[in-house]
Amino acid sequence: MNDIKTEKVPEVFYLDEEIKAVKEKGVLDYRSKRLPVWCPGCGYFGIQTAIVGAMKDLGVKTHELVVVSGIGCTGRYPFFVRGYGIHALHGRALPVATGAKVARPDLTVLAVTGDGDCLGIGAGHLPHAARRNVDITCVLFDNGIYGLTKGQTSPTTPAAQVTNSHPYGSPDRPLKPLMTVLAAGATFVARGFAGRPKDLRVIMREAILHKGFSFVHVLSPCVTFDKVNYLYPRLEELVMPLPKRHDYADYHMAVERAMDDELFLGLFYKTEEPSFSEKLDDYAGRSG
């Protein structure tokens, strides 16, 4: 039974031609040597592509990048990124990212988190990160399910859906993440779809550039544990861009659209307010 005493598995490298081609474009600079362990077809690959693309667009330096995550399939993300990575505890990406950013305002800090991670166990931190306006980008990988633990109800699983933890269907009305952060006062609120990595790349770019708390809700299929809800074809039908007339400076309009059962994509809301670090600097100045 002492079968597996010794690790000898070599580090895995991307080697095939296609990937070499990508490398030429520079985005592979933002990937670590580890091959993502996600299931083939998982939406997270699309999100990964988008984020990495945005990094490249912005020319973020890998040593000035801090990626913090919680626990879940989402949580593995920092292992696949080149940069300083913090795979924190379940639900705690935001506090750790906040501490990192306040300590080192010069670094780019990303918090990636799952629907269970962010809205379940981590639900207490989200409104506070938002209202502080900490200058981090929080990316919610929302697959409407607990992936890593193999298919239980998450806070965004639709009511009545049957999951491993609710064999008779979930009794709970799902949360609307955009409403949650808008209610708490987030200054940048957007939604993307893992199946449209190019659009998402643009959103991510804006989100990272935004000075303050930016929140990007990304719809993403879990191809392994969700066979009814966030399927690619179903999502393709459900999502739609925010109407042309949508004014992201209008808070009320943003709230209206976030309330909506339609899954709009795009920038819901954006406003400029001093970031947490700016406010703390300001106080430090006053105190000095």
Partner: protein, 589 residues
Amino acid sequence: MRQVDLTIEICGSSGDGTLAVGEILVNTLSDLGYRALSFDVYPAEIRGFGKCVAHCRVSDKPVYSVGRSVDALVSLNDPYSIEQLATLKPGGVVLFDSWPLREVSEESCVAGRLGPGMYLYGVPFGELSQRSTHGARSRNLVALGAIAGLFDIDAEAFEAGLDRKFGGKKGNVAQTVKAAFRAGHDYVKEKLLKVDPVSFAVKEELEKKDFQIMNGNQAAARGAIEAGCRFYAGYPITPATKIMEILSAKLPPLGGRVVQAEDEISAIGMVTGAAMMGTRAMTATSGPGVCLMTEFIGYNVMTENPVVIVDSQRGGPATGLPTKTEQSDLLLALFSGNGDAPRIVVAPTSVEECHYWTSEAFYLAEKYQTPVILLMDLFLSTCKTNAVLSELDKAKLSANKSPSPGEEGVGRFKVTEDGVSPRALPGTPGFEWTVSGLEQNELDSPSYYANVHTEMTEKRARKLMTALQNDVPRPERFGAKGKVKLGVMGWGSTMGAVIEAVERANEAGLSAAALKQVVLNPLHVEDIEKFVDDCEKILVPELNYSGQFARWLSMHVNKPIHGLNMVKCSPLTYLDVLEEIERLITETS
């Protein structure tokens, strides 16, 4: 002495149906009256790619631990199986696919890696699957047939099992699987010359009992249901999630309720609220979840509220090794929470005991108004065995000390001799109480006085002593009687390996004994002292680095303790312990 004691491993890649073979094997052997234990190793990472091993140990007597060395290895994937060769016994058997579906390069073929004295049989699993079922997906069933044929297991019993399992499926699935099975079986019988000694044949008839094939999670869930648990709140976490999933299906029809909470703090909070209402209530989690529950554990000590908490341990610290077994939450279970917060801690040592002690936990919690922590671990949670469950005592279904009529206004924390206060349940007129995490006097008011705090602290400790006297079984001694050279004290899932090691040590003429207790707090200190006095040396084997049980014992025992501490990501085997027993006894003499 056992008539049979064999360990078979089936090793393959995720798509190979490896674990299914193990399952059918155990089920069939169970039907035949064997006692079996199987423990699966599957890939630790998310996607299901990687090595799977079904490890099955089979005997005519109960089996509580995995086999240390393997008698027969069945390879569905040669590169992975080569890694497994390390634990194959000298003289062990390898059964491999001589017609694999994908080409296997010479150096990664298991056949080329055998040690001297090993027996090798090639069976064209792939080919036979193709021929018998017109497809390659039944390689695993061909292998199963080969196992039956080679090791003398009744083929009809397998076929009956396959009928039971696949009979209900549409199409002629059952026919197909049986054809594959038969192909493997007959090939072996007809084409191979058996030269190895591995055989399941028995001389004495095996006693067929009412076996229930289950793992520790299933056993615990069943114990809870039978003990009248009617409220469960939990949050998913490996390896405890299944308990919630089972109860979500089974409790509602019984009038019970299951809530998936937003986190572990909420889960234990809900359980706390439900238990305060008089409903038997439980949560199950693993180490990281227990960390989040510790404030509430202390709260339930303070409010004297009966909650049951299962901690299925996994490798730590922190997120640690979620898919590897370990016994490193003992000190957490004993000492978590601020202040002096005594609680009952129970560590079942087998699947059967997961059933019995989960049920007993509810009784103890209710009777003594205290949290009870059940320490299981990944191994117990997920290992399957054909268990013989004990009958539960119906009298224990209701154990609350209700106040007598006329006692109205008594308050919730009356100081009593046995430490247990009368406890009215909400809904009872005239007994309205208020409980708090603040220290309270007998009239429920917060109190900051030395006499009250002292009296109440004593009371909370005293009732556990009452429990010890009335309801905690005395430790059980195994192995040699009287004075011995070495005493071995184990706990939890590794106790089985300890007892077996001691028995084998005795057979080998070594003077050793073992002491077992399932309740780890409160402890029968006098019995332990007596045992320790009987032993020249003391050994405590456990799957953790810091020697947690040894540390706990050393608080009660004034003799140096030798620890056998392993953090090896796999279960303890009797041989691990036996080697240490030999070493320590040899040193002595």
